[in-house]
Symmetry: C2
Subunit: 340 residues, 2 copies
Amino acid sequence: MAAEPIPGPYLLYLGHATDFLGIKTSRGLAVFAPERCVGEWRHDDCPLTTGLERLTIEEAVARGARTLVLGIANPGGRMDAAIVADTVAAARAGLNVAAGLHQRLRDQPELDEAARAAGVRLFDVRDAPADLDVGTGLKRAGRRLLTVGTDCSSGKMVSTLILARAMAARGHAAEFRATGQTGILIAGGGIAVDAVVADFISGAVERLSPARGDGGWDLIEGQGSLFHPSFAGVSMGLIHGAQPDALVLCHEVGRTHLRGLPHMPVPDLAECLAANLAAARLTAPDVRAVGVCLNTASLDEPAARAACHAAASLLGVPATDPMRFGAVPIVEEIERCFAD
Amino acid sequence: MAAEPIPGPYLLYLGHATDFLGIKTSRGLAVFAPERCVGEWRHDDCPLTTGLERLTIEEAVARGARTLVLGIANPGGRMDAAIVADTVAAARAGLNVAAGLHQRLRDQPELDEAARAAGVRLFDVRDAPADLDVGTGLKRAGRRLLTVGTDCSSGKMVSTLILARAMAARGHAAEFRATGQTGILIAGGGIAVDAVVADFISGAVERLSPARGDGGWDLIEGQGSLFHPSFAGVSMGLIHGAQPDALVLCHEVGRTHLRGLPHMPVPDLAECLAANLAAARLTAPDVRAVGVCLNTASLDEPAARAACHAAASLLGVPATDPMRFGAVPIVEEIERCFAD
């Protein structure tokens, strides 16, 4: 958890990225916190964009940028030599550097030295609180919604953010609880649950979303997938720690295999939802599904509407693409299910 | 993973422990590596024993002890002031200190200073390899058996060790793969999977049990339980990383609630086995159950035999108490199921 605020505005780093899913931190900031971003920095071989203006380091500094955000998320969270060199250049130009990689910025000697020499700071967003406890599963006050997914990078953060805004817009007390680097940078706080010591996954989520007595909701960002062989442990601990009253299943339409694993098919939606509900019942016996959030970016609008209709029919809950059609049908379902 | 061997013989530390389950590391070493233990050190208020001779530090040193092993496993793995004071006294008396707690020995300033002054070493068994990768779920060569449990401390390590010895005794190449502090101290190596960064749980197990081409078996020690809200994330990642051909379910007869969680009942055996098989199928589609290991210490022998018979009838696989009756019925089931 970032112990103190990261100075904005940000310059978003894309570097040499070629994987659209791999720049989700930059994209998330550009969409959900555009007021804190001056632009993006990418090399000529990067075919991707957040839609923000492409700037050099010098241009960004001239426009007031305070921090270079490494808005990339490669599997395993490693920094290669090109990334290190770019962050060193940014530090020398007077920018702080923030990242949520597993490899910590402060552990790169050249970057650490450059930051000290330039008087700028390094923010490792994935640092967990030092004093986490193991989870207890004890029932705590307040309502909680958790997003779960058929895969990594299937829209859980985006869906949670849009749901939180939609609930707030309809007068509900509703807070987004960030569990990943992008969400933490957007929300200004949170715990990167994939970076805590394995014994403390559920305990970290109990810390992140403590008892609340105001009748409001915590909307907790999910991570990974119970069906992803790299990360299902994180997803499982997150589900148990979240103690969710409500689950929302997130899925990218048309994805044929799990991210990074061409030998692993994306699970069936109904099987995936059932497995998540079964896991959640351990700490939340009355948990229920309240919606499906589809990423339909690959479809035209009639096909997207048809995909939502099909998912809703299959699973018996409202389905929407929150980026395209908003999240109101799911908020209405929440209001219906939790009317008391 | 302990990068180098921990000098033996050991003095086993019980301290002020009053929870029999909490001294399982000391008990495990006393039972499975008695040749490396000179005795136990406990205070007058500790009502427990490993069965080894009670010694003072000075007596242990006189008998050749080289290392004090903190054979305790309190939830969360923390050191209190009394433990720190005792380890400092041991270091000053010339003993190395080894522990598998989450809190590292080297992070205790007083102990670190005492160890330096005395020229002895501190071994943090839970330290994970620094270069772990995320798991892939890719099929790898070799046969693997994983123990799973209805709860923590339900006999997974003991069952795995006895199974490994029983398989070796019948001529099978079979190696015990340790995933917890006690197992690592017994085996002389392994990875404490509950101490790795959450994203790397399954990857750690893929590292621990790599492809093997000799037709032999890796018998992988399970951790936690899919039904334990504190630790199920670890169990899930372990299952996916182990890619098990065979599962053995471990259960303590008569336990009424999960360890440390009086509000959480122990799961039903059949439901627990089914959930573990379902989880395992993600990376091992042909996984099968080959046995049940019961801890029947609370029963007399006829009742213990009846409990094994009942579990075998319920689940359709051999059931035994490996400490009491050995593991041969399960090894025979393995030979029958994997006869090719």
